[in-house]
């Protein structure tokens, strides 16, 4: 349930930024803290499952795994950036 809340929180944020931008998101980069209790493949799988059939389906997820347990955000997942495809209606 831990990951379900994390993922829905993340997806909500991406969705909201996509709406603001008015463009299609094609990629996202995440930083995964060393103590985030979730591995990159695990996170990726949940993400794919949660976005299946939505407008975010197929989004390229880049996950950087951090190893420093002393990092201030070691227990968190950080959404670093989003890549958009400029949609011009074509």
């Amino acid at each position: 349930m831990h990951e379900q809340s994390l993922i829905s929180n993340l997806i909500e944020k991406i969705q909201q930024l996509a709406d603001n931008e008015g463009a299609r998101v094609v990629g996202a980069k995440l930083r995964l803290g060393a103590l985030a209790h979730i591995s990159a493949p695990h996170l990726r799988e949940h993400f794919e499952q949660a976005t299946f059939g939505t407008s975010l389906e197929g989004l390229q997820l880049e996950i950087e795994e951090l190893t420093d347990i002393h990092h201030a955000e070691a227990q968190d997942i950080i959404l670093e950036n989003l890549q958009f495809e400029a949609s011009d209606g074509q």
């Binding site: 809340s5 209790h37 799988e45 990092h71 968190d76």
Partner: protein
Amino acid sequence: MAGKSKTIKVDYLARVEGEGALYIRYDDHGVHEVQLKIFEPPRFFEAFLRGRDYTEAPDITARICGICPVAYQMSALHAMENALGLVPTEPLRNLRRLLYCGEWIESHMLHISMLHAPDFLGYPNAVAMAKDHPEVVQRALEIKKTGNALVRLLGGREVHPINVRVGGFYRVPGLESFQALRPQLLEAHTLAELMTRWAAGLPFPHCEQSYECVALSNPSEYPMNEGRIVSNRGLDISVKDYEKHFREQQVPHSTALHSLLIERGAYLVGPMARYNLSYPQLSGEVRSLAEALGFRAPCNNPFKSIVVRCLEVLYALEEALRLIDTFQPPDEPYLAVEPREASGCAATEAPRGLLYHRYAMNEQGKITFAKIVAPTSQNQKTIEDDLRLMLPKFMHLPEQQLQGLCERAIRNYDPCISCSTHFLQLHLQHEPKRIS
């Protein structure tokens, strides 16, 4: 077709928030009501399972939780096998026990080091604790890695294992890959002993409760995959009578159902319940350490469950070594079976407590009914009771301190709810004095 792409920088923290809420109603005479609200996904999965193939249940239910996927798989497997009259051979049974050892180690270490330990040492989280006590976090991660290695070996990968199937395993690794884990297990064992000694020396709040402890039990081994359901107050039933004795109750304040012992009420499942009921089945080595540290069963202080978890990790490491040393390759990786109209149930000991599954399938093997009772819902009433007993002494504290204390009490129980209640919302309702 592809337009110009652009990247925007975000730097947004995804966190778990708002899934746990605690309501306390009190007045000058005392605490009148404590309601813990938690979000529990098994309910959604029960509906989702209907219409799926019986062979899919272990993999689907494994996704309910990333901390205890093996537990869901094991209960689902055994329930399906119970329905189809399949009895796993001794070598297959041992391999499952070995896999379960891996999950106990992983889940307990996560709970001990990331959630429980910072509370005792007075840190807001593991990151802050790691600054001053890096050895605690490093040691825990090292031990946890050994659990990961066991789950990876038999489950095919670390999370959401995929090598497990009704009747056995898709593939059984060769003898040498088991032997290769020995040095790592021995090293982890040394670290786990240090960890246990360290945990036993922590300052524990005084909090002796009187629980009805419920766990699987069998005469010859510490319980994991099977046994009768017993309690310290005389309950002794077979798993198929579970629903005759335990009732789930819808409570308006939570999406999780409360599970109660009929006519008796709240009960405790989890490491402390297992420990108190099956202490004699632990290895001699674990028991002598427990005795040397003054932690012989029974243990009825929920804050001391951190030590019980350490002792169970030590036991799981010893048990894994024993299973590896006596490993006999099974004749077949799995037993084949044809589906038929049937129903069955099973309970296993998830790291955080008894996990009950019941299924029915039609003659094509499609699931027509699924029921899952997770440890969270079984302990929920007990957690509320703990809080109700503990709170009157602390209601005068500033709200932030009170919240920290409540979070601590909840974290004694379950890593799976702990992460959803790490950012507990506290709602205090002070009732004005009534003049009659």
